[in-house]
């Protein structure tokens, strides 16, 4: 990239009238005339609508006839029109980054309507600042790296298998890594599924079959991810399987490691025998070993309290499912569910709740401040509505406990350089609009590893992560805008290796290589500029918003 000397800049300034939106308040001809007097400006013109086909043609003409190498347009706002003008000058052979926008409408004529004289002066000064920056602009190339069209899914539960299948079906070589000796995750211990009541093994077998039949999908069971190097599109992953190392070249990684079950030791007299968890009940139901006459289920055990503030989503439906199953087998069994808020949102789950009520399951609410007291054969619970403490006999107590984050999430998070949130679940880029992405490009998350979810959502999220991952490896290359941060060769001696830049980059785009040098991975950089503003020795440069460029605007503002 050559450094253009200021004397080489030949700037063309196009001042837009925007019909009467600008021209109606200020004299754009006078503004264009003024612009001629600015340093490095060789051509100016005023247009009626610079963004119209006519206006764009005038820009192209100006570039051709006057050999312009920088273009400044003074009109509306770069937020809507910069791409249009960049494309325009690109068509005429000019690098798109040699364009500067000056906002003299949305932030000038439209907001100073009672001060036409001042608005005119302001427009001139803003153009003076824009021209100063334009003189310092440099041609930039977008960053392009290759993308390996392969994917790795870590975790072979429902979410992982769904993601892997979708990616494989899209034609990508996909590697599914599972630390257990079989696929399926929690689906292996579940008995029946809500809200359909079908056997879990049906869904599991069908998924497993599709996985093994897919030619693009390779499964590694009893395998763990040992090490990950590289970056988006170019990962080098080391998988360890039965003591052997397997090296894979991977384009994108999907994390689907699921969640763990909580053993409620010390709560409500849990003993794994008369007082069990819902998952232990699933096993009993599978073995047809439930013969209790009075069953009580307690919801929110170890959840939605100070210890664990969250709701685990699936426990209410699981309790209802098992209650309905038991009631169907044995209508005379008494089932009482002690709950705080019953979580059955949406259309089908709410319907399920009604079914349970109609089947004779009794629901009794309790409050967090007054938890039920479990005795050997009775449970004492205070209910607000009735206004009394009741004593409920039981011969089987089932505790609905939340899903919790895996113990090894931290290890995996460190390998992938992705964050965990306060409950140690993985933290996505943005809860609302980027729920399957991590802030670091190239890694995706789905299923209970992110947050406790039911099967329907696990499946949806598996597809979703596959969809998101596919946007990267659907192309041979990954391209990012050239306005990134970089540490130029000639500034390397300024870098003291203090690593403050690494600390402040939210995208983990900066790291130290084997030679202990600071490396900014271009394809991960989003161009925010925080590292540049922070670098203790002013070594890092932010392209297109360099110190020099911004200072030139400041000096022009000062009137020099």
């Amino acid at each position: 990239m050559s450094e253009k000397k200021e004397e080489d800049a030949r700037i063309g300034v196009f001042v837009c009238s925007c019909g009467s939106n600008i021209g109606g308040l200020i004299d754009v001809k006078e503004v264009a005339e003024y612009a001629k007097s600015l340093p490095n400006v060789v051509f100016t013109e005023d247009n009626l609508y610079t963004c119209s086909e006519t206006g764009l043609a005038q820009i192209k003409n100006g570039i051709k006839e006057h050999n312009l190498n920088r273009v400044v347009v003074a009109s509306c706002t770069p937020r809507t029109h910069e791409p249009l003008f960049r494309d325009c000058i690109k068509d005429e052979g000019l690098n798109e980054y040699l364009f500067q926008f000056v906002n003299i409408r949305d932030q000038c004529t439209w907001v100073h309507m009672k001060y036409p004289h001042e608005a005119l002066e302001k427009a001139k000064e803003l153009i003076q600042m824009g021209v100063a920056k334009a003189a310092k602009l440099e041609a930039l190339e977008n960053i392009v790296v290759d993308a390996t069209p392969t994917a790795m899914v870590v975790g072979g539960g429902v979410a992982g298998m769904t993601a892997a299948l979708s990616l494989a079906n899209q034609g990508f070589e996909t590697h599914l890594v599972e630390k257990d000796n079989q696929l399926g995750g929690k689906l292996n211990i579940i008995n029946t599924l809500f809200p359909t009541g079908q056997d879990a093994s049906e869904l599991l077998e069908s998924l497993k079959k599709r996985v093994s039949n897919n030619p693009n999908l390779t499964v590694y069971t009893s395998a763990k991810v040992k090490d990950i190097g590289g970056f988006v599109g170019n990962y080098e992953v080391e998988v360890e399987q039965n003591g052997k190392s397997i090296d894979l070249a991977i384009g994108v990684i999907v994390v689907a490691v699921g969640a763990s079950l909580l053993t409620p030791t010390g709560k409500y007299g849990y003993d794994g025998n008369k007082r069990i968890t819902q998952y232990e009940l699933e096993k009993k139901l599978k073995d047809n070993a439930v013969s209790a006459k009075d069953i009580v289920m307690i919801q929110c055990v170890g959840a939605r309290n100070d210890e664990r503030k969250y709701c685990s989503n699936v426990c209410c439906m699981t309790a209802l499912k098992n209650a309905l199953l038991i009631k169907e087998k044995n209508p005379n069994t008494n089932i009482i569910i002690l709950f705080r808020d019953l979580y059955t949102p949406g259309t089908h789950y709410e319907e399920y709740y009604r079914r349970a009520r109609e089947a004779g399951v009794i629901f009794l609410s309790y409050k967090l401040e007054r938890e039920p007291i479990v005795e050997e054969n009775n449970i004492k619970v205070y209910n607000e509505y009735i206004g009394e403490e009741m004593s409920i006999p039981y011969d089987l107590l089932v505790l609905s406990t939340p899903l919790i984050a895996n113990d090894d999430n931290k290890e995996l998070a460190q390998l992938l350089k992705v964050p965990l949130e306060e409950n140690k679940f993985f933290l996505e880029a943005h809860v609302k609009l980027r729920p399957m992405d991590f802030a670091t490009d190239g890694v995706f998350i789905c299923g209970a590893a992110k947050w406790p979810v039911d099967l329907t959502e696990s499946i949806t999220q598996g597809y979703a992560a596959a969809g998101r991952a596919s946007t990267i490896i659907s192309h041979d290359t990954i391209e990012v805008e050239g306005a990134t941060s970089f540490l130029p060769e000639y500034n390397k001696n300024l870098c003291s290796g203090c690593e403050v830049c690494i600390t402040v980059c939210p995208y983990k785009a900066i790291s130290k290589n084997e030679n202990d040098e600071i490396e900014i991975t271009q394809v991960l950089c989003k161009g925010c500029g925080v590292c540049g503003a922070t670098c203790t020795n002013h070594a890092i440069i932010i392209r297109h918003f360099t110190d020099e460029q911004i200072l030139s605007e400041i000096y022009a503002f000062g009137g020099s």
């Binding site: 119209s52 979708s166 359909t196 709701c311 597809y463």
Partner: protein
């Protein structure tokens, strides 16, 4: 980049449709995005802030709208509806009715001169939940995409009576075109279809009279409340009672209006528990003297960070949660709502007078869903949402036609976005897998 010859048609350009379009577009697949409104963005564009992050809704949505508009692989058709489809998975042909905008999309600079001069005013703007009026030539909100004005053909006097035409004469870009006609477009070689028409609101079909809606100006729906507290809404974010302009000091948020009800809809609308707390928080930020009461049956907050959000509401935003069942709302002489309810904790019937009552109305299937389902040949479930199998959540009953978001069940934005990416993945499997 391998250009796929088959494209994907997406019906509905709310957040789900937009997300699916962006994902498919980014995969290199051509997308036809069909939207019946004049602009894209759906309901999310109308919200002030979103839970649980309290992000400004349009701020996080606008970049996606721009990206969609500029994306080389996405073709947007607004004022358009699918009329007919033929073919099957891998090769559909779709007939789209594109209504006339009467403004040339490639000429309009969105300067707004036409709207300023139009003599026909007083038309309720659907974007502002009909709380603010607009002219017959309008754009629903300033940062809308496409950034092009529209003429409402029902209200325009030129189109109906041949008089006026002031907008055409005042438009410097000569963008007004009264000669435009509705068009029928035929789009061929569609590999897969994604149906994402979003949801409707109960107040559109149910007068909610027993809650005092329309009778009392201080009983508003949640969407109306969003527009009232929105910085770019009819009151510019200064919440006031619509009857007398006084700042409300006591606001009631009533959940499950029309949901979980034997009389109206039996199902749960999922998101009201969260958005009522959110709305109360935003109102509190505007006025620290505010007392908010949330009337609920069960608090449903299973999503990430949701429980903590509710706790904050109770601890920091002066929100009191009353487990209850609402009976009705009457109106006091000063147009203040009086809520009659059964307090669950004391099993008493009580009354509470408030300054403003916000109804969290039931989320119903999108208007016109039955006709759309008919056209596409897909089944609806018993609630009239699009029918899907719980373990094939984005597939409709017709192969090659996928669905996502509130079209199939009431859900929040994170789930809609995830489902949209999921539907995109399934559609991509069809296009790429063959």
């Amino acid at each position: 980049m391998v250009k796929n010859s088959k494209s994907v048609l997406i019906i509905g350009a709310g957040i789900a449709g937009i997300q699916a379009a962006l994902d498919l577009g980014d995969m290199g697949i051509t997308v036809h995005l069909i939207e019946k409104n004049p602009v894209i963005g759906g309901k999310m564009a109308q919200l002030d802030k979103t839970f649980p992050t309290l992000d400004c809704s349009i701020c996080i949505l606008a970049p996606k709208l721009s990206e969609c508009y500029r994306h080389p692989n996405i073709n947007i058709y607004t004022l358009s509806e699918v009329q007919k489809i033929e073919g099957s998975i891998g090769d559909f042909t779709v007939e789209v009715l594109k209504r006339a905008r009467y403004v040339k999309e490639d000429a309009c600079t969105n300067c707004g001169d036409c709207a300023k001069i139009c003599p026909v005013r007083g038309i309720p703007n659907y974007f502002d939940a009909n709380l603010k009026n607009m002219a017959a030539v309008y754009i629903p909100f300033p940062s809308a995409v496409p950034p092009v004005h529209i003429i409402d053909k029902n209200s325009c006097v030129y189109l109906n009576y041949g008089i006026c035409g002031l907008c055409a004469t005042s438009c410097g870009a000569e963008a007004i075109d009264f000669t435009q006609k509705d068009e029928i477009l035929e789009i061929e070689k569609i590999g897969a279809i994604i149906v994402a028409p979003g949801y409707g609101l109960m107040e559109d079909v149910n007068p909610l009279t027993k809650y005092g809606y329309k009778k009392c100006r201080n009983v508003v729906t949640s969407l109306e409340f969003e527009r009232l507290i929105c910085a770019s809404g009819p009151l510019e974010g200064h919440l006031r009672r619509l009857s007398d302009g006084v700042d409300p000091k006591k606001i009631a948020f009533l959940q499950c209006i029309g949901s979980r009800s034997d009389r109206d809809q039996k199902y749960c609308s999922s998101i009201c528990c969260m958005y009522c707390t959110k709305a109360a928080m935003i109102a509190y930020e505007h006025n620290n003297d505010l007392e908010s009461y949330v009337f609920y049956i069960d608090m449903r907050a299973g999503g990430k960070g949701f429980q903590t959000f509710l706790r904050r509401g109770a601890d920091e935003y002066n929100i009191k949660y009353i487990k209850s069942k609402i009976s009705q709302i009457n109106v006091d002489l000063d147009e203040s709502p009086i809520i009659t309810y059964e307090d669950y904790d004391t099993s008493e019937i009580k009354q509470m007078k408030v300054d403003l009552a916000v109804l969290a109305t039931c989320i119903i299937p999108s208007q016109g869903i039955e006709k759309l389902a008919d056209v596409l040949g897909i089944e609806l479930n018993r609630y009239n949402f699009i029918k899907t199998d719980p373990f094939l959540p984005v597939e409709t009953s017709m192969e090659g036609i996928f669905t996502c978001g509130c079209a199939r069940e009431p859900m929040d934005i994170p789930r809609s976005v995830a489902e949209a990416s999921g539907a995109a993945a399934r559609a991509a499997e069809v296009i790429k897998g063959g």
